[in-house]
């Protein structure tokens, strides 16, 4: 015993860690998008760049690298095996756990955390009983002796990361002693140099094939002068060979940089072997290293046999136990002989990456932050991208347009087309929330100023400013300007056709007419907002367009007639052709004189309505929610709430209610007859309507209807003496 006491002890050296900024970004993304409120042990894959040539390179061998790919489930498929390069990116597998609260990370039980991981991922497979020889080999080949574990808390808002890492390493009581050590010298090696090269080459081949297996241990049977024979590592193989102990060498790649020490993974390997073969008291190891056999290290190790009771107790604890139970073991008390180490630092480290992230990208992703948080607890099924990816067209960039754009930004929308012909004036400043004093001073066009403002908030938005007049029935176009105006109408048609949703935010009834008609014809959904002094209405126009529903009807042999009544448009409730309401308007009629809140509230509701529609499986075709006396109905609802056709509200009474208007067959903006006439006549037809608005009523049949009313009225019996009697 005194002799062994004098032998040198085997020591182990730490790994170094290098973490990419991309790793932290991805960690934060996973937290926000995937894990949310959960605190799972997620897979982690570090990599160690290992020089497998016979030339010593200067790169440190013990650096574990974590990149943005560290969380991918099967990264080995990504880095294809390359037999030609001198380096192999060996994988270090592990787990990362992110805490919801800083308190969770602070109160982490260091000993238990590492022991649980080692027990679950190393000891459980190492001590598995009742396996065939093949199963045992397979099981051992998968043990992550090279393990990294990380515990984090993220202050996602400010890109601050709090983290603590370990390379979990388990040991048993009592030292491992070095009976003999040899390198670079054939004399002291128990095998020839060519055997050494053969072992090294075998190790490299394995490493290239299975970089995900970390140190890739295997057994080498050496009977010099014959070249060694290789065998997969398993306790059984080791036991069988035990009789011939001198000849069995446990080979593995070692990522230590220090000459006389092994890496922490080697300790895990040796400990697992000792626990699996408790009677073992000596072991020959050959630690393969960067730089070939010349740098590799042969050691003959001696240690005490493991107490069989400990192994039995461990097996009892681990066999069939879920990870939860493994974590629940009181390791210190039950298994005092198991030692664990590997923490990089004692304290939690903090990292502030705010300054390293590209600010433009950060503004984009961070501004979706509060949206993502909705999915954590309140609405996990929310499909944010549906709305966020949509291309919106805002007709009007005044008080409503500015507010709607801002509310859309909040929902993550990034594609805007802005239409307005006006310039920013000083009187706009207080109300039109995208404009500044400078815009008014320079009398910028509203669409340009609004586009700049949106970009100054979220630089990644895609905004197309279009200074365009929306032509209106009753506002005659002079002969000389017909071509120019026709071009403007074509542009409006193109913009509406290319948009996913149109917001109608103009300030007169007649300015809503042409966009309503074009949208109905090409099936682009419309959300319409109109304001009174202290009242507002927000409504979605019915879709699909008449064409769609009618062609459906044709296809289905008229079955579409049983579908619920189509929803109306802004003009459906009032079958009078729009006409010039702008001339002879006093100043207060030219400006929308409304209480400030009216626009703020209506704009917000309009955007919410669209957000709701985008969560409904039928989208804009979803039926209108109606309050029924008999209780709630399920139609016209989505996970965000009810989806009425119209929401009307008053700031005077601080109230809000729903309405539903059905499609009017005589509508002067969306009736079938009108849509047909537009399809036949195109922009030229629209222009005719602009110049002679009464034609609209004629096309729609309103004129005829009015005449028949008058005939009816004439045919009635009028008598001032008689009271009206209900028949």
């Amino acid at each position: 015993m005194t002799t062994t006491a004098e032998l040198p002890r085997l020591t182990f050296s730490d790994y170094q860690l290098s973490v990419d900024v991309g790793f932290w970004e991805e960690l934060r993304r996973l937290k926000l998008m995937m894990w949310k409120l959960e605190e799972p042990f997620a897979s982690l894959h570090g990599s160690i760049r290992t020089n497998v040539s016979n030339r010593a390179l200067l790169t440190p061998a013990n650096v574990v690298h974590l990149s943005s790919a560290a969380f991918e489930v099967a990264p080995s498929e990504h880095g294809a095996v390359n037999t030609f390069t001198e380096v192999v990116d060996v994988q270090m597998r592990g787990k990362v756990k992110n805490y919801n609260f800083p308190e969770g990370l602070k109160s982490l039980d260091s000993r238990n955390a590492l022991l649980s991981l080692v027990a679950e991922y190393m000891l459980k497979p190492a001590l598995a009983d009742n396996l065939t020889a093949e199963e045992e080999e397979e099981s051992w080949s998968q043990i992550p002796f090279c393990m990294v574990s990380m515990y984090t808390y993220i202050d996602a808002k400010s890109y601050r990361f709090f983290h603590k890492e370990a390379f979990p390493s388990i040991a048993l009581d009592g030292s491992i002693l070095i009976k003999a050590a040899a390198r670079e010298s054939a004399d002291s090696l128990p095998f020839s140099l060519s055997a050494a090269q053969a072992i090294y080459d075998h190790g490299v081949a394995r490493l290239r094939s299975y970089p995900e297996r970390g140190c890739n241990p295997f057994l080498s049977m050496c009977s010099p002068p014959a070249l060694p024979v290789f065998k997969a590592l398993s306790p059984r193989a080791l036991s069988v060979a035990e009789d011939d102990a001198a000849h069995v060498i446990l080979c593995f790649f070692d990522f230590s940089d220090a000459a006389e020490t092994l890496c922490l993974s080697a300790r895990n390997l040796i400990t697992c072997v000792r626990l699996a073969v408790p009677s073992l008291t000596s072991l020959s190891v050959y630690a393969l290293r960067s730089g070939g056999p010349a740098k590799s290290l042969f050691l003959q190790l001696a240690f005490d046999a493991v107490d069989q009771a400990t192994v039995t107790a461990l097996k009892l604890r681990l066999t069939g136990a879920a990870f939860d139970k493994v974590q629940g073991v009181n390791w210190k008390e039950e298994f005092p002989s198991l030692k664990v180490s590997g923490w990089r630092k004692k304290k939690v480290e903090g990292l502030d990456l705010g300054a390293f992230i590209d600010p433009v990208r950060r503004a984009d992703s961070d501004s979706r932050f509060n949206l993502e948080l909705m999915k954590w607890r309140v609405l996990p099924s929310l499909e944010l991208s549906r709305l966020a990816d949509c291309k919106v067209l805002l007709l009007g960039t005044g008080t409503l347009g500015c507010n709607v754009a801002r509310n859309l930004l909040m929902w993550g929308v990034r594609h805007f087309t802005l239409v307005d012909r006006g310039n920013v004036s000083f009187s706009n400043l207080a109300r039109q929330s995208l404009f500044t004093f400078e815009d008014a001073k320079q009398n910028k066009s509203k669409v340009d100023a609004a586009a700049e403002a949106l970009r100054s908030i979220i630089p990644s938005v895609v905004v197309r400013p279009v200074p365009l007049t929306i032509h209106m029935p009753g506002h005659r176009v002079d002969e000389g300007k017909l071509d120019e105006v026709l071009g403007e109408v074509h542009l409006l048609e193109e913009l509406i056709g290319n948009s996913d949703v149109v917001f109608l935010l103009t300030d007169s009834r007649e300015a809503r007419w042409m966009p309503t008609l074009i949208s109905a014809a090409c099936g682009t959904p419309v959300v319409n907002v109109a304001l009174g002094f202290d009242t507002y209405v927000v409504m979605r126009h019915g879709v699909p367009s008449a064409a769609n529903s009618r062609s459906n009807a044709v296809r289905n042999g008229g079955a579409a007639a049983t579908a619920p009544a189509a929803l109306g448009c802004y003009f459906c409730s009032d079958v009078v052709a729009p006409t010039d309401s702008l001339s002879f308007r006093a100043l207060d009629e030219q400006c929308t004189v409304t209480r400030p809140a009216v626009s703020s509230i209506a704009s917000a509701i309009a955007v919410e309505l669209v957000a709701e529609v985008y969560q409904h499986p039928d989208g804009f075709c979803c039926p209108a929610y109606r309050e029924s006396a008999s209780g709630d109905t399920d139609t016209g609802k989505c996970r965000l709430g009810v989806i009425p056709q119209q929401i009307r509200g008053s700031v005077f009474s601080h109230s809000m209610h729903h309405l539903c208007g059905e499609r009017n067959p005589f509508c002067t903006a969306c009736s079938d007859k009108l849509l047909d006439a537009y399809r036949a006549g195109g922009a030229a037809f629209l222009l005719r309507c602009v110049n002679t608005p009464m034609d609209i009523e004629e096309v729609c049949g309103v004129k005829e209807l009015k005449e028949s009313w008058e005939t009816d009225v004439k045919e009635m019996c009028w008598s001032s003496d008689e009271e009206w009697v209900d028949s």
Copy 2:
């Protein structure tokens, strides 16, 4: 007759007009603030700077100047008579009419417009019958022979002015012939040079005394070699002197620059004299001019007698007729012999003053534009300045703070104090409507960034950014920081004390506690906004503070007990002391996870609620509006609508309703006991509550209350077999 035909005709020269920018500004202001939708004939006062010395000055004599003072009712009081200077600012009186529509100005009937004015203001007094000699003199002294009239339409939004002016001048059919003309030569004058000087001096004295009387006509009786005798002008005086015609001279100041012509006002004077004395066929006039007698002009005029029928018809038309009726006269048909002229230009002129107005001032006034328009038609009695002048304190400059500030800007509020401790982060951008990408990139403090943003919208706002922590019960302050924190509490007390209204816009319950308590103690009204995921509550805390109502009660011998129950605060409905709810909060709990609309709507409502309160005679003391089953009540209402205590809404159901919470005697934020303890202990007491929140419950009596409940519960008979039975 042939001789007269060969005599030269008397001609008249135009006035020139010079208008200050200030005139247009004032015109626009009057339109917006005073006239609104009305189109009155408002008084107009031009001035003609007249050199009354004997030295000829180079300034043109015929320039009529309009300044910002042109609309004042009694401008003669402003320009005190100055007998020492060589100039007198003679007044030209008239009328300005501003049209609501450009169409009104375009379709102005030129002839009728001027004739009506002349008839109303000159002919009516000139032809008045049945006056005493004194009355007649007085009446004639007031006739505005020097008249200016202006017709305008203002595009107030863009500072564009459309205008057309006239110096109305009336004539009768048939020419006025010059029988004799004389100047600078004693030979041709029918009076001596010293008589000429005497007449001139008398004229100047009158002009100095009565600059508002324009050309200041008077009669001069000349009997050389005696110096002339002066008499006030009246038809009677003229008729009496007619027998002695050669000696009676009609003297007046003439503002013509041309040697041989008189100014248009002289034509009005002569026409009025001819109509008042129809038999008159000749008249001697002495036109006094800048530069003394040397420049003045004597004329002997001859003309036809006026048709008596015309005069009779005119008197019939005008006597006792209102201006409306005068305007209704078809002048061309009824009085073809009356000729009118004086338009400066045939067409309406346009003037774009946008660029001349100081943009900072313009931004300030134009941004109140839409507000002023409210008073035109919808709410003439609205008192905008009540709210606009108030000093607001916003506690919290996040999503709510930004939106509330913007809504307040819209109501014309200009004094802000912003309190927040945070900095702008990228995740704020989409939602917090005052911040830009650059603010986040520079990690600016929120209060500074918000202040800059408000100034960039309306440069005249007065914003005080205060980066301050609001201390919260349960968030312990360390011993070493007590002094610093005490200073922060003092600052909060000062800010609340100096504000007219406090908006509570923080994102946790406990952050609302201290401001609620301090505000209750010092009587500053509080409006509180709190958000859920898709719900919101906006409420006003009850005022006056307990102190006020109690001291009232004492003064009234307890009569205050009959007053309606005081309104509660945010904490009144839940008598549990606030405590740390911020630790152990996951990311989604740290950030306010709400649907975008919730903040937009709630902020808008909060500001409207304040706007309503400011229109109520009792201000924040007004009772809460309650919907009653029996119909509407009149309490809790103002011209802007109902004023509930709480408005709660949901974006899920698109609904809104009112609630009213009364003051809770055990409230942990505003109960009398607590207010007393705070008044006694001051900031130190608040700090104690921060460190030991349970003290709050003890002070309020909540602890005692809870204990008595527990005793009650213990004394109940518990039996698991028995059902609860309602007694």
